[in-house]
Symmetry: C2
Subunit: 198 residues, 2 copies
Amino acid sequence: LHLVRYEKGHKATTRRRIVGIAARRFRKGGIDAVGVADLMAGLGLTHGGFYAHFRSKEELLREALAVALAETQAKWVHPAKKGKGGFEALVRAYLDEAHVTSPDRGCVCAALAPEIARRPRRTRDVFEKGLMKSIDALAAQLGGDKDPVARRRRAFAVIGVMMGTLQLARAVADEKLARQILRSGIEAALTLGKKRKA
Amino acid sequence: LHLVRYEKGHKATTRRRIVGIAARRFRKGGIDAVGVADLMAGLGLTHGGFYAHFRSKEELLREALAVALAETQAKWVHPAKKGKGGFEALVRAYLDEAHVTSPDRGCVCAALAPEIARRPRRTRDVFEKGLMKSIDALAAQLGGDKDPVARRRRAFAVIGVMMGTLQLARAVADEKLARQILRSGIEAALTLGKKRKA
DNA sequence: TGTACATCAGTGAACGCGCGTTCACTGATGTAC
DNA sequence: TGTACATCAGTGAACGCGCGTTCACTGATGTAC
């Protein structure tokens, strides 16, 4: 009994496209830099239709965060190398120069963590949920102890160094220095990932 | 031959007060959240006078970053405990719950790094200069090797974990989880600070 | 001693602009009869 | 087969608002004579 002016699922597809482009642009320019009108124009649409898909920009942000975090999780569940070398491959991919210059496709923590910290509780809830899944994916790649609690603790430390290091490499003006910072971060992340005890 | 309507140095004092309040507000709400008019009103002044002190908001940002970084540097040159326990005291002070809830008085890297990364080159130059001073202050507190290059490398790793960890603790919605994250970060920072080799 | 003038930190109206959000609408389609 | 109507994704003008920046000004003071 429903009508279908566009093919079935068209609206849902548009919605997904909006979330997709938002997930990239938020990471690229920061949350405030992304305007609803600009975003819709990026898909060849006009801004008015936005509110047929989302109650507010904040709701879009929540969905974009969830999508971006799921991407990271997927990368960590399936790193470039399977098995034993997986963790090291993961670290090297994260602290790579390409990740410095392409935040829009990269880790949302490194791109937006301080901005997320200033968002309303509901948004931080969504972030937390996605983060925990990524943490568990990362913990699964860690060597050392079997204890899942200890693993998770180390996973937090690893993501901490990685995101902090990546942010410094991005913020600094000198590219040579940025590369040195990345190297320090790789060394540290591997130390923390492989270590059995503090 | 100069006139002095206000006492000598009055304008310089006003300028310093503007930089001071800006250094706190930028860290508290993010760079975009700080409006020139609001800022001046916070000092009992009106927005028009702002441009007698600074060419632009960006110039103010540069000065505010320099001031905030100098504060951090000072804390690290003189940690709560002198000598051997200095580094551990520094780490515990950084990854403290008070630092989670009071970003305006805290580390500018943890509060603003991703936003700084999107600023024009000149601003990132200022950040880099201040960061290097803080790094050297931190490196001076590290145990382990004598080689200053190796120390600096480890100092980058330590600031990386500390700022990344603090950001996660701030971004997460659950306070209990935030405390766990802080603990992971302390353990990791101490490991990296004390270790001699990766 | 008194008046005219110069200085200058700070004032506040005004500029153009983009923001998030609302809402009456358009126009292509499918259904009813 | 043709006409009237319902649906609904997307349109675009309009809303109030705050932004960074400019600029003619105010008013308290010191200097000149």
